[in-house]
Symmetry: none
Subunit: 402 residues, 2 copies
Amino acid sequence: MISFDEMRKLAHVTPSKIVLLVMDGLGGLPDDQSGKTELETARRPNLDQLATEGICGLAYTVSPGITPGSAPGHMALFGYDPVAYGLGRGIVEALGLDIEVNPGDVVARGNFCTVDDNGRISDRRAGRLPTETTRDLCALLNDNVRVAGTEISFFPGKEHRFVVRFRGEGLSEKVGDTDPQHEGMEPLEARPLDETADATAAVINDVITQTRQLLAGKHPANMVLLRGFSQHPDFPSLPDVFHLTPACIATYPMYRGVARVVGMDILPAGESLQDQIETLTEYWDSYDYFFLHYKKTDARGEDGDFAAKAQAVEEFDAVLPSILTLKPDVLLVTGDHSTPAALAMHSWHTVPVVLWAKYCRKDEVTEFTEPACLRGGLGQIHAAELMSLAMANALKLNKYGA
Amino acid sequence: MISFDEMRKLAHVTPSKIVLLVMDGLGGLPDDQSGKTELETARRPNLDQLATEGICGLAYTVSPGITPGSAPGHMALFGYDPVAYGLGRGIVEALGLDIEVNPGDVVARGNFCTVDDNGRISDRRAGRLPTETTRDLCALLNDNVRVAGTEISFFPGKEHRFVVRFRGEGLSEKVGDTDPQHEGMEPLEARPLDETADATAAVINDVITQTRQLLAGKHPANMVLLRGFSQHPDFPSLPDVFHLTPACIATYPMYRGVARVVGMDILPAGESLQDQIETLTEYWDSYDYFFLHYKKTDARGEDGDFAAKAQAVEEFDAVLPSILTLKPDVLLVTGDHSTPAALAMHSWHTVPVVLWAKYCRKDEVTEFTEPACLRGGLGQIHAAELMSLAMANALKLNKYGA
């Protein structure tokens, strides 16, 4: 991959439009009975038409065998090496919740959890606490947790999730998680990962001690777990590097968060895929790059529900004609990783990708499935290379070198 | 890719011979009517025979989506990472014209151009000036342009093109182009890109001022545009790294220039492909690596002439038997990039490659076309890796590690 410095020189503004459609967790594994994956099982006439007219392949987002989280998965799709441009969990959650994060602030992703009488975690999610309760508990903590010289703020998320922001002088993100990620263990102390973080770790441990006391009678939410301490990254943006005017249409906070980190405008996405298409249509003339995120394929995969995941594919397939009506110059359909129902979690398997554009040099693939994409003209490709290919196909890149 | 330091240890001299045949701009795009590319359309019995007996694939020279210029395209084919070993436009032109460039000299590629009464560029190429006129104008400039302490020399190229060489103490290549690359704009001042180049930029601007005065009555060639200020690169050579005795047979200056940078001997190439084959035959015993460059596939692609590009393929195909008569041990046929007639310019699309050698492990490909090569044993490969593969197939590489 060429550097962003080089890309800045190659990229130029044109009226052509790129649309990136991310079917989260798209790739799957075959069903034991039928021998077909979720995608192969689904009726997908419109995806197959794109595959027929476009160029297909299989993408990996980090490297072969590595199962990516959602943030690295999307960073790669936006053209960033996800290893060089790593995002802390805290910052992604915070940005997705529209929380102001200034340079110097430290944020962490939090869970309300349940600890037993011995202080061991019995439920990392406190029974998936109602969002309303999380709101009340965050208010309680905001009213009472105090550390001299540091401003502490709790922001409620969905269910048991929240974000805590530390604002003050000399804070560092180099602090280990307090969430051991396993039930039956005690929450960990916040430990400094280098000497710059001694003071920050002390502040965090002070906050946790106060929080534990304030939550003592609030079973099942009688403790908190923090992870992903992080500061605002100072990454080059899509407008800066690729000279794009990019917009994000995502219904879930985390994806909006990652999109914001790379400099996308966040458009109102509504609640449904239909709402998202309406937004895309409404804002069509204002941007030259759209990222539209579809969550359901991943969610049903994580549920381990093969049939529901296949159905989620069909639902997405059905809206493709309305996107094509807008006449994008480059349409890229893929996922950020695989989420096979058989595993009920993110996996390392490659993800089908189709790039549809006038000069794409179409291959002989006529089905948008894992086995068909294996024979595609893109081969097996690092997802971060797809951005250059999309730019090239939109005729937005100059020649490299004389 | 392994480093040149490692390659130096692996490579050894053998009598076996490698021939690299570059069909410039080889890759194409399908015709709207027939659905076939230029290469698919051409009759190519000899290329198909090579594909049948050899191992095929698709190559990219920089990275997916990046359209390479000719210099990076060839650097990759010679085994160099074209990003790490970048060449300025000036040095490539200068070397191709057999201009002496000493360490410390700065050279630039120049165009005679036309500016209107307001000083704005109305034709970047001065109506593609006759080569003879360019010769006369360079003589005029050589007789009259004077800067104390710096020797200024103008060297005519083809049509409106020339090279200017600055020879003196303390010169730097870190100067921005004066060619804005767009008509309707004024030529730019030469600007230093860092503080080491202040004096050089002043010299260049002085030269341009004198040149403008000397050309005042010479419409349409009443101004010059300079770009690609560069010094002689100090790159490792093919003899040094691969222990090869390499020779170049190219009819165009730029390709000879790049070949010279990597340490090839430049053989007299004549004017036609037939001349080139004669040179290859004549010098067969004196070298163990030959680079033969065929320009027509690119030129006809850049003309946007689909049929003529297909015909250029056929013309090349016809000379293959006479090359095989020489009994090369390794024959590598590919391009430095694609130049689809549909785009009439270099493009980012991968390029077919066939490697023909006794121990190549042939694949099932029997046609030398873009879709057939996609199913080849080389897969999709970075062009810079082809050099190692050619060396290996020539049995010129030792085992790596114990």
